[in-house]
């Protein structure tokens, strides 16, 4: 069907696009994004706490971003927990369910309020999750402060060993 014809049919409402809707099992999982979002939560908390009280728009934007980042932490962890974590992993790391639940609860706390200690706890919990995740892949991990604010210690995979 030519482009011109499809455009004409779309304009007339006769042609629609329908998704076949696939779940492509790509098998790519990584705790990096969760950690990135967790650290972002703390950074946004710091910026919020340092912002001038009268800077309403800036503060509103920081709060909105903080909530978004915390929600992304929940999403990233939920996907790994739901799609990647299987019974053999649970057998080997029996605290994985409790740890995941703690991450959900702590991320929610970070959304609800602006206590830095909640943010720090979130990063630490995600660090714990990352250590288990990389261990399941037989990959060693290191821990060092991230090279940007808030410079909190983060777990990273030591690849290529």
């Amino acid at each position: 069907m030519t482009n011109a014809l499809t455009k004409l049919l779309e304009k007339s409402g006769l042609l629609v696009t329908a998704e076949a809707h696939c779940d492509v099992p790509c098998g790519i999982y990584d705790t990096g994004p969760a950690l990135y979002h967790a650290v972002s939560v703390v950074r946004l908390m710091d910026q919020y706490l340092a912002a001038d009280e009268g800077a309403f728009l800036t503060r509103a934007r920081l709060v909105a971003n903080k909530e978004e980042q915390a929600e992304k932490v929940k999403h990233e962890i939920r996907v790994i927990w739901g799609d990647y974590v299987k019974p053999p992993i649970v057998e080997k790391y029996p605290n994985i369910h409790e740890l995941t639940h703690s991450i959900m609860m702590t991320a929610s706390k970070c959304k609800q309020d602006c206590h830095r200690e909640d943010g720090e706890k979130l990063v630490e919990l995600v660090n714990g999750f990352a250590e288990i995740f990389w261990a399941t892949k037989g990959v060693k991990t290191g821990k060092a402060p991230c090279p940007y604010e808030p410079k909190l210690p983060v777990v990273f995979p030591v690849l290529g060993e």
Binding site: L15, E19, A20, H21, C22
Partner: protein, 95 residues
């Protein structure tokens, strides 16, 4: 959506292969009786406008969906939809 009870859908994605591969066009007709095995155009509450096959019609009148390709979202996630969400039944593939 559609004209005189007909609508053409361009299918995106591989989960209705081999009958409706990615990029194919198909003609659907509204107000047709729908039964098990029919390929339908559905306004899904979670996934939007999708093309799927009716796996089974439950006693409560819900149309449970499935894909025909290996990559399709599975039945449990697609769930069942009410009749008024069905926007057309496949008549034939155009190209």
């Amino acid at each position: 959506m559609g004209l005189l009870g007909f609508v053409i859908a361009r299918v995106r994605g591989a989960s209705m292969e081999p009958g409706l591969p990615d990029g194919s066009f198909a003609l659907f007709r509204r107000r047709k009786a729908v039964k098990r095995g029919d390929v339908i155009l559905v306004d899904h509450p979670e996934f939007g406008l999708i093309v799927k096959r009716v796996h089974v019609v439950s006693r409560s009148g819900l149309f449970h969906l499935e894909g025909t390709g290996k990559l399709s979202t599975d039945r449990s996630r697609l769930g069942g939809v009410e009749r008024d969400r069905i926007k057309g039944k496949l008549l034939f593939k155009i190209l």
